[in-house]
Every structure is written in C-alpha cells, then in structure tokens.
Subunit: 571 residues, 2 copies
C-alpha cells in the first residue's frame, strides 16, 4: 500500500485525547491513512510535505446554518469559507425552499462545492400558512419524502412551530416529525426552542426534538442539556458565564458551536473560526473549543467519516501557525490543498447552475405613485385616522405596536406629514399581486429601502419616507429581478443585486459583501437604527417573530396570528 | 396533556450530569414525558407509583452480542435478560445465518420480544469460503441489500477478515463494506481487531471500521481510541489497569461494555449487569459504569431514542435498591413493569415461531462402526503412521499442531491404542455428506462428546475415545435434530437439545442452562480440561481461529488456510 502524501513534523490535534501531539500524517485517496509518531519508513508515499511544526486540526464543521443568510450560492459560500477553515456544513436551506420549493432546494443540494454541504429537510416552509403569507414553494409531506431519498439530506431542519407540534397532532409539522422519526430514526430532529422551559420544554422534547440553537444562558444550558438536548451555540450564546457552565460540567460532549446566520459582509471576515476564537476569549480552553467545532458536531449529525484526524476519516485539515491567535495558514479538503495564505492558492470552484426561471422570479407589476395613495374613507370631513404603527426595536428583530393619529386629507392618509415610513409588501410570485400597506417610524431621512430578501416568504418589500423613492426602488428591484437597495433623492444610492430567486447572488463574496456593506451604510444614512439594519428590515415580514409583522396578506399579531388593521378608527 | 404514570420520589440517574438526583418521572405512551424535581402539580396522570427513594437508571444496552451464543431464541433471550436489566441489544446473528441464511436471520429479526433487539448485517457468513467449509446459508451482497431494508438492522456486524478487506479489493467483504458505507454512511461498521496495531491497525481502519470488541490491554485501549476506534469492552477486557486508562483519559465517551458471548448456563446468573459490577469492582466509578452501559452504547449505535432518562426517550428503566451491590428490584420496558423481584412478575413472552424446516436441519446419514475405520494403506506391512494431532489449549479456544506415531493394524489407524480421541466433522446440510477425520488428545476417559453447535458452519461434530460412544452420540444428535451431548459406557450421560437449526432451543433459560451445565459437567468428567469446555470443543471447527481446526472439508492450518493431512507419513 502506498500513500499519496505524508505530512511530516506537525503538531496534530487528537480529539479523543483533546491534545496536540507531534505526529506525521499519511493521506491516501482523500482520507487519512495513518497518524503516527514514528518515521513511517514502512510506508511509501508519492509525495511528502514538511509541516515545520505547524499545528493541524480537523476541518471545522458547522451543523446549523443557512447559506441564504449570506445571500450567496452553495459554490460561492464554499469558496468564501474555505480560507476560514470550514470544510463541512449542514445547511437548512429554507429560504430557497420558500422561493422555489423542492426544485429550488434540489438546485442547492446538487450544487458542486469544494466543501461538503449536507442538508436538512426544512420543516417550516412556509413559516406559517397560506392564509398568512404567500410563498413560491412549500415543503410538505411529499417534499419531505422526496428529500429523504437524497444521501446529502441528513436531518430534519429546525422545528419552530411549538403549538403545531405540541398541541395539534394533525398539523403539517406533527406529520413531518412523525414520518421523519419512523423513516429515519437515527437522523437528528433539530429544534428551535427559544425561552422554553419546564413542562413546556419537556412537551416539545417529548415529540422527538433533539437540539436547539437559540440563545442560551447558564440556566437554560443546564436545563436543556440535562434534558437530553444537544446544544448548538451560536455567537450570541458565547459568553463568559456560558463557557463556565460548559467547562464545569464537561458539557463539551453535548454541545457544539454553529454560525446560524452570517451576513455576506461579515463572511469576508470569518466564519465558524470567529466563534471558536470568541469562545476561547470567553475562557474555554482552545482544545475544548476545537473539539466543539469538529468532533462533537460530526458525532451529533452521525457523520462518522469526519471530525477527527484518524485513519479512514476524510482528510480535511486546517493548518495553523499559532493556536493563540488561531491564524490559518492553509486548508486541506480531501487531502488536497484548497487554501494557502503564502500564495493565496484558493482552489477555483465551479459556479452553481440554477435554472433560467430562477432568474425571473420577481413576477409583479410596476408600482405607480397612485398606487401609494392610501384611501381610508370617502368622507372628506374625516381629518385624522388612528393608525397602528410598527415600532422597530434597536436591537434584534423584535417589533412593538403603537398607535398614532395620522392626518387624513381628502380621504387619503397623509403619513408623510408625521415623517412616518410607508412599508409595502407586495406578492411577487405572480399569484395574487396583493399589496399590504403598513406604517413604521424608523427612517429619519427622506428615502427608501427595499428588498426581495424578505424573510421567510421573500415577497417584494419596500419602505420609505418618500413616495418617489419607493417607486424608483421598486422599479429597480423589478429590473434587477431581486436585490437589496437604498434610494434617496430619487437615485439608487446603494444596490446589492440578488438575481437568483431574488434572494441570492453568484458574485464572489468579496463583491457581494462590499455591495451589501454599502446598502447597510445607505440604510444607516437614512437614519435606520438597529444593531443589524439589514436583518432588522428583512424580518419585518417574518410572521413568526415577535411581535407585529407584515406579509403580502396583511399586518399580523405574530402571537395570536390575528390580522391587525392599518387604521383602527377614523376621527 | 395527561401522563400515563408518574413515578414519585426516585433517585434518578442523569447521564449528562453523570449523577443521581431526587426527581419525579412522568411517562406517557411508553416514553418519558417529564423528569422534574417539583411536585408535577401541572400534570395530570392516570396513575402514580411511589418509588420510595429507590435508584432508577436507564435500561442497559448491549450493542455487541450473539443470541445464539446462549443457544436460545430471541424471545427466550429477552425473557432471560430482563431480570438483569437489559432492555436493548444489538445482535449479530451470524450463527443462524450460517445455518439458515437470510431466511433464518429474518426469523430472528421478526421474532416478537419484550426487549428491543436490533440487528447487525453479519459480515462473515461463511467465516471463510466454500472450499474450506460447507454452510447452510450465506450472507453476500444480495442478502446485505435485503437486510438493509429492515428498520431493525442498524449496523454491519463484526468484520473479521483482515486480509480480505485490506489486501483484496475484490473480496466479498470489501464489496460489502464498500456498499454499506455508500448506502448507509451513518451506520457503524463493527470490527474484530485482535492484536492488530500500528500500520496494520491503520490499514484496517482506513477501510472504514469503527469499533472493536476483542480483548484489550492499556496500550491497545490508548492506541485504538486515539485512532478513532469505539471500544466495546467485554468481560475479559475489564481489569483494574484497563479501567485506570478509561478513568485517566475520560475515555468513557468512546467506549462501552458488551457481553459478546454468554453461555446459556451463565445467563441464569446475569448479563451486562455482571460486567458493570465487575467494572466497578475494578475501580470504575459506578456512575461511569452505568454511562458506559446506557448512553455511550446508544449514541455509538445512533439509537437516539434511548440511553437516558429524558423527555421523548423510550421509558426503559432499571430500579435498584442499592447502587453498591447493584441489586435490581424491578425493570420497566416502554414505561410498563416487566420484572419485579417482590412478586416475580416477569412479563410473559410470546414464543418465537420458526418454520418447520428449521426443526429438520440435520440432514446426514447415521454412522456405523465401519465408518470409523480409518484405512491409511493397503500395505499390510505398514506398522505406524506419523499423524498430525490437534493439541487443545487449556485456556481459550486456540489449538496447536503436534505429531504422533500412531500404530497401523491391517492398514487401519489404531488410534485407540494411544488413548487418542477421534474427531469427526460431518457435513449435515444434505449437500455432500462429506466426513473429515482428525485426532486430538483431550479426553482422558472412555466416551464421546458431540454437537451440531459447531462454529461457525455448525456441521455435525463428534469426538470420542470410544467408537461405540461416538456412534451412539451421533445417532442421538440425528434423532434429536441437533444438540450438545456427552456419551459414556454407550449411554447418553448428558444432552442439551438444540432442535432449531441444530443450534438453539426454545426452552426457558432455566431448563436450557441446566441442560447445558450437565453437558459441561459430563465433558469435565471425561477429562476435558479447558476454562470453557463447551466453547473449546465447539470452536475446534472454526477455521478462522488459530491454529489448526477441522471442518467438513478437512483439517486446516487457519493462518495459511492450507489443508493439513491426517497422516503425514507411513512407516
């Protein structure tokens, strides 16, 4: 037997011993053949590499994430994360599924990528139901069964519908979970369990939920792990006190790190490696942090062929100059170099191929200024309308409902008078063309922001303080067949094209990220105040996220799922 | 939501915290619904049980074992192990597969049992090939594919053929392993890796082997676990120094305890609980020992629905009076009591149903005294023959080859003169009727021992110092259609009927064990000296176990797989 390559003189991380050891590594056919401290004289090799005492760890594995959160394609995503050491992800591609259903999801699954991308069956497409939102596709029982036939589909994606699962045995989600557990009992059923505890937590887990990736605190970590939940800790859960709980209880066996959502502009700076570094900053030993980005996630997902540097496992390696600053010098996938800082040798990737129709997915009419006239009455004596206003929080994605008296002129709402923003969600799949109007008070300057990346249904959404800017931006979104843009003074000041399904782009992440960062700045320039303006705006349309959100079907109270009128009362 | 039962006031073992906690447990539909320290006032329950501060641990899980080693059926096995706390096993039923192929194995898989029995695809049926042994059935690629369709089949059984897997890409085992890894990448591929280390170990693991259950020492434990092998520690691997290695390295995450083979008479005394107790005696903390008999094996096998007492998991529980002596007072399966020492309430089991033809599986002719005359020459002047003699070791199942000059009278071997034992293996599947003669020197007294439980091909094997006793016993084995017996003075002194396929019995384990213990005593009375006479004799026919063994096809050097003649030379 002859090895392809022997890597000599490395400090190799052994996940089972949780320590680095001076070793040589032999690789054959893309897998580790032998890891040994001897000179490997017994083994011939076609080539050899001197690692000069560098550190080698397994490729990083991110088991809960959404590629579309980075507005990119699987191939471009792969290209973007390789320099950061990520070599395997498990993607829940529920955004493309909302836009293009099973077929769109299969375009993702079939994409050629350098890293290995496994997929979850998205469990909540649409996020609610078709009386609350119109989507391009859905994932029901038939689609679930079709996806289960694909070998790259390895889990059920985050189950969010607590009520549907716990209280209604006949709900779609109950059916999907039941089928999944019968058909693939050894696959994980991923959960989304924010702030659920006690008997409610137990009732959710009773249905077969295995994991949670929402924000944790020390108490929730202890309660969930001791209840059998595998925790996927994203950036916002990485804190000093949370890491202390992990260390104290040796919970590294039941928890891993994940990215969940990384914006396209952030992706230029790092991926799972950033969270790993943050965890170490918060006091987690680096060996434990590496373990929780490699072996633990692989084991949780049943990926028996990776997560460690050991014979027979896929030869994915990250080479580090130092484990103190976690500086990555090169990355190997299947035993072959795919990134090297010295010569910037990042392997070329095949571009994803999506069908032509996905590039023509914004099927709605051009709006005119007249469309924006909101007539509330025929009675010309009415002077004011008590309107429900969406107040947007400055942190996170939550909103609150307030009331304001808006002037009425000739039966029309004069929302501009109060410096309010008009928010429009327009059905864009060529089904109804329905438009919902709502009012917010977020923008301070004249202008508009708009996108077709509007969670989860991704209808066309524009919000502005100026009707002209709204119209200009809506036309731009139609012309470009999707994107994220800002308009001011009747000019497009920033635009990030998202031509594939209106939600993703095939540009390299450097260009895409730059475009998005300009949009972000443009929004800030309009006075949009939020810790993440891009996500804040895009989730104004998400009817499962508290408290009051807007879809093509109307304004909804997300807790009660009841419709809320724009106008409460005429005065 | 209403629970079926709430168990109050228990000291419940939490595998994630690795400690006992005072809790109440609610069960519904056979699964744990809620485990909490509060009074559970929020939850209604149809019934409640006061546990009076008893200890509750998850049902024990044995992931590497062979039911046929206990010469019993799945249903009787289930009945036998419940009082010992075993509620789930993963069985490699390669003995019934050798006898009856896919159909016989499916009879096992389809058996109704109280405990949950999952199955491995046996990877080595036959143990060698049909030039070395005749079997009733085989498991090749077609049978593997058929078995993979069964939801109770969850892994590939112990791969033993190192040479076939490592050196021959076209071997049957290479094909099966490759297919298995492609078709079911998330299933474990179980290995049998005795005394393999260094590059050879790496080459075996390179092919995708995930585990090992052979005898370990501290060095092999460290090498194998750090090479990514999941270790299944059976009784002979449980020692003070091995437990020290497990404790020192926190290897409890990568190792579990298994029984492998438990003889029918031993099974009356205990099962996996015996090994757990032994491990604790050897210094392993009881919490770690319980973990390695519950959560670790379940996780290794991808059995996400068990191995811990947590919401949503199958409600299998073992109740203990004390964790010091591990005294089991009751056992619950799917939330229902199936064993209780107070009133001896072991739940009745359905008997297994095997097809009629499996009760008529010994298809060979009656031997006569004339058949036992071993003619070695026509030359009446020949006085002696140099014969190869099988020396049987006093510990374990190994043999050695020696030579002896055996008198020749009228061309016939006079083996009785030297107090040798004649060993006969006779093809019994109605295929060839071929007989192999060999000589051993194990029995000290006049008599014979014989069985159809002769690993792995299970042909008819009789060995004796007296031709008459050999004949009597062979006729008895035919009449009873299988069993294990001893004959002396022309009378059957002990007999354990094994009428199903000639290898198992549907008698309750108390009766079967008693029968087998009498056979064991009968063999000892004939002067058979070995640490386990039943296993020693039965493996004289196993051509993959060192060093010289006998099949219906001849005497073989197991290392070279070359045939060895009975007579080397005539003098």
């Amino acid at each position: 037997m002859k090895a392809d390559t022997i890597f000599y003189n490395a400090k190799v991380f052994n996940v089972f011993l949780k320590k680095f050891e001076k070793k040589n590594i032999a690789v054959k056919d893309g897998r580790f053949l032998w890891v040994d401290s001897g000179d490997m004289a017994e083994l011939e090799a076609a080539s050899s590499v001197d690692m000069h005492d560098k550190f080698i760890i397994p490729g990083l594995i991110d088991v809960h994430m959404h590629i579309e959160s980075s507005m990119t394609t699987p191939s471009r995503f792969s290209e973007a994360v390789i320099p950061h050491g990520t070599t395997t992800v498990v993607a829940d591609a529920h955004e493309i599924a909302n836009v293009a259903g099973l077929e769109g999801l299969e375009n993702f699954v079939d994409s050629h990528t350098v890293i290995d991308i496994f997929y979850a069956v998205p469990s909540s497409v649409p996020s609610t139901n078709n009386t609350m939102e119109t989507t391009g596709g859905k994932i029901g029982m038939d689609e679930t069964m079709a996806l289960l036939k694909n070998k790259n589909v390895i889990c059920l994606g985050e189950v969010m519908d607590f009520n549907g699962l716990v209280n209604d045995e006949n709900s779609v989600i109950s059916g999907i979970v039941k089928t999944f557990r019968e058909q693939r009992p050894n696959f994980p059923v991923e959960g989304h369990i924010p702030k659920v505890e006690g008997l409610n937590l137990a009732r959710f887990l009773f249905k077969g939920i295995n994991s949670d990736h929402t924000q944790q605190n020390p108490k929730s970590i202890e309660e969930k792990i001791s209840s059998g939940v595998f925790l996927q800790l994203q950036k916002k859960s990485v804190s000093k006190e949370n890491m202390d709980v992990i260390i104290k209880n040796n919970f590294c066996e039941y928890a891993c790190f994940v990215t969940d959502d990384v914006m396209a502009d952030d992706l230029r700076n790092g991926h799972l490696n950033q969270i790993l570094k943050l965890a170490v900053c918060c006091g987690l030993p680096v060996e434990t942090a590496i373990y929780m980005c490699t072996y633990t996630p692989a084991r949780h997902m049943g990926l028996r062929d990776r997560g460690c540097i050991a014979p027979g496992k896929i030869a994915d390696m990250v080479v580090l100059d130092s484990i103190d600053d976690f500086s990555i010098t090169s990355v190997y996938k299947n035993g072959k170099i795919v990134h090297n800082t010295d010569c910037d040798k990042t392997q070329a990737v095949n571009k994803s191929v999506f069908p032509e129709k996905l590039f023509k997915s914004i099927q709605c009419r051009k709006l005119t200024l007249e469309d924006l006239l909101i007539k509330v009455t025929d009675d010309e004596d009415v002077k004011e309308a008590v309107c429900n206003i969406i107040e947007i929080e400055k942190f996170g994605t939550f909103t609150r409902k307030t009331k304001k008296n808006v002037p009425v002129v000739k039966g029309m709402l004069d929302w501009e008078k109060l410096n309010l923003s008009l928010l429009i969600v327009m059905e864009r799949y060529g089904k109804t063309g329905q438009i919902t109007f709502a009012l917010t008070n977020i923008l301070k300057e004249k202008g508009a922001v708009g996108t077709t990346w509007a969670h989860d249904h991704h209808n066309l959404m524009v919000m502005g303080t100026s009707p002209e800017d709204i119209i200009t931006l809506q036309h731009k979104l139609l012309k470009e067949q999707g994107g994220y843009g800002v308009c001011a003074g009747n000019e497009i000041t920033a635009f990030c094209p998202l031509p594939i399904g209106g939600i993703i782009s095939d540009e390299p992440i450097e260009i895409l990220g730059e475009n998005l960062s300009r949009v972000r700045q443009g929004m800030i320039d309009l006075g949009y105040e939020n810790s993440n303006v891009v996500m804040s705006f895009s989730t104004l349309s998400l009817p499962v996220s508290p408290t009051i959100k807007v879809t093509d079907k109307g304004i909804f109270d997300c807790l009660t799922q009841n419709k809320i009128p724009l106008v409460e009362e005429l005065i």
